[in-house]
């Protein structure tokens, strides 16, 4: 499977604080990748750089051959770690919005998922609970036939049943040639779906590799590898 994204010598600085320090990564196609690290390690910054919300101070990022911009945004599906749906819209209007801007949006799939989760498409966004809004966002993001899915804490703060549904949706909805990057602290819950992991420590890549290979090399599961790598960081 061809590589999807290249991150070359990327540095991001906030004032005097270095969030990412000369990071080099290659994101392969067709993989579910866990982006792991403690709070403030630079996970969200990396995701924001990939989806174009931030500009690096140094280095280059290319996604499917495009530099970060309107073209790369058309192949990236991003789920932030907070609710972003406009309160003045209805659920159905959000589907219209995604249909208008993303050629790869699969409306029948989104409608089916809404039905499965018993979410009324005519409901105004402002009347939905925080959890339901998060589900709507996940449906919108995963209903795209994107090349790269960037999911920032998709299972944080949801109940275990919804968590299973979300992980199942992520696995089933993404296309075989696309990759999914999931940033999370809840490693135990997602370990079984991960093909690769990227561990970030103080803005640097501490460990990167495929899960079976790492498990064999370290002779332990991903959670224990994580604990080993980040020993003393908390």
């Amino acid at each position: 499977m061809a590589d999807l994204a290249y991150i070359s010598n990327v540095t991001k600085v906030y004032g005097s604080q270095v969030a990412l320090n000369n990071v080099n990564l290659t994101i392969p196609g067709g993989k579910v990748i866990g982006l792991l690290g403690p709070n403030g390690s630079g996970k969200t910054t990396l995701i924001k750089l990939l989806c174009g919300l931030l500009t690096p101070n140094a280095g280059n990022i290319s996604i499917c051959g495009y530099p970060v911009g309107p073209m790369s945004k058309s192949v990236v599906s991003y789920l932030p770690d907070r609710t972003y749906v406009p309160e003045w819209m209805r659920v159905r209007e959000m589907l219209d919005y995604f249909c208008d801007f993303y050629a790869d949006f699969r409306r029948p799939l989104a409608e089916m998922m809404l039905q499965n989760l018993r979410i009324d498409p005519n409901a105004p966004m402002k009347t939905l609970s925080k959890g339901t809004k998060e589900k709507v966002q996940l449906i919108l993001v995963m209903s795209r036939y994107a090349r790269l899915y960037l999911l920032d804490e998709p299972i944080a703060g949801v109940d275990p049943v919804a968590r299973d549904y979300i992980l199942d949706t992520i696995i089933k909805a993404h296309s075989p040639e696309s990759s999914v990057i999931i940033s999370t602290h809840l490693i135990t819950d997602i370990e079984q779906v991960l093909d690769e992991v990227i561990m970030i420590k103080y803005g640097n890549v501490a460990l990167c590799g495929d899960v079976p290979g790492l498990k064999a090399a370290w002779n332990m599961n991903v959670v224990d590898i994580f604990k080993e790598v980040f020993k003393g960081c908390f």
């Binding site: 309107p70 991003y78 972003y84």
Partner: protein
């Protein structure tokens, strides 16, 4: 893509303003009925009180529409670019310029529609009143004459007012963007806004003095060109902040 951005901006404006416009025209019609009844000879303290209440309500609605038109667009810009909605807006496959220009166009349209709504309401109120036909005829003739005899002044007026409005709209956007960049501090943004506004008044006064003695059209063209440059600078600042210094809340 630009047209799709515009479509969703208009949807927002329609949702925000439909009820206000409907209520405004409702009050206009009720007030018109009272005016007709008063012309027909109706009177009495209850009638006068009700008529007074509706007249004040009509005036308040007019102020609300004016205020909403100015603030709504700036609030929309802040929320959709720098608030949580910014995670959606700024990851759309469109350029930063398209995003900003769509909001400017929608804001300008909103302004024109509100202006027309207020003019229409005033028209509804005065039509049929004794002597109003003469006034309307006079205004029409005046406008006609201005277009035929003083077209340069009319053109200069539109040129000047367009860029003064654009500069004002972009000033609001710039203030919002700068406020977001410095961490969303309201006190700092208010101070910054007041400072920039005082500077603007100072420069405007200088411009008026500078064009003193020139023709009306010449002065308006001069001021228009100045605000065109100001609007351009403001756009560049907003664009740079959104593209390179986005600080989403």
């Amino acid at each position: 893509m630009f047209l799709k951005l515009l479509k969703h901006e208009y949807k927002y404006i329609i949702k925000s303003f439909t009820l206000v416009y409907a209520l405004f025209f409702g009050v206009t019609i009720i007030l018109k009925i009272f005016i007709h009844m008063a012309i027909g000879g109706s009177s009495g303290s209850a009638f006068n009180t009700l008529a007074g209440i509706f007249a004040v309500t009509w005036y308040i609605f007019m102020l609300i529409i004016g205020l909403m038109t100015i603030t709504n667009n700036a609030r929309r810009f802040k929320k959709s670019m720098f608030g949580p909605e910014g995670y959606l807006t700024n990851t759309l496959p469109v350029s930063t310029s398209s995003n900003i220009i769509a909001k400017i166009v929608a804001g300008a349209t909103n302004y024109v529609v509100s202006y027309i709504a207020v003019c229409l309401s005033i028209n509804i109120l005065i039509i049929g009143i004794k002597g109003s036909n003469k006034v309307i005829k006079g205004i029409k003739e005046g406008i006609g004459e201005a277009f035929t005899d003083h077209f340069d002044v009319v053109f200069a007026f539109f040129f000047c007012s367009t860029f003064v409005y654009l500069a004002f709209l972009l000033f609001c956007y710039m203030l919002t963007s700068l406020s977001s960049m410095i961490g969303g501090s309201k006190a700092k943004s208010v101070l910054l806004g007041i400072g920039l506004w005082i500077a603007n008044i100072f420069v405007f006064t200088m411009l008026v003095e500078m064009f003193d003695g020139t023709s009306a059209a010449g002065a308006m063209f001069g001021i228009g060109f100045f605000y065109m440059i100001i609007a351009g600078i403001e756009f560049a600042i907003v664009h740079n902040i959104v593209k390179n210094h986005l600080n989403l809340q």
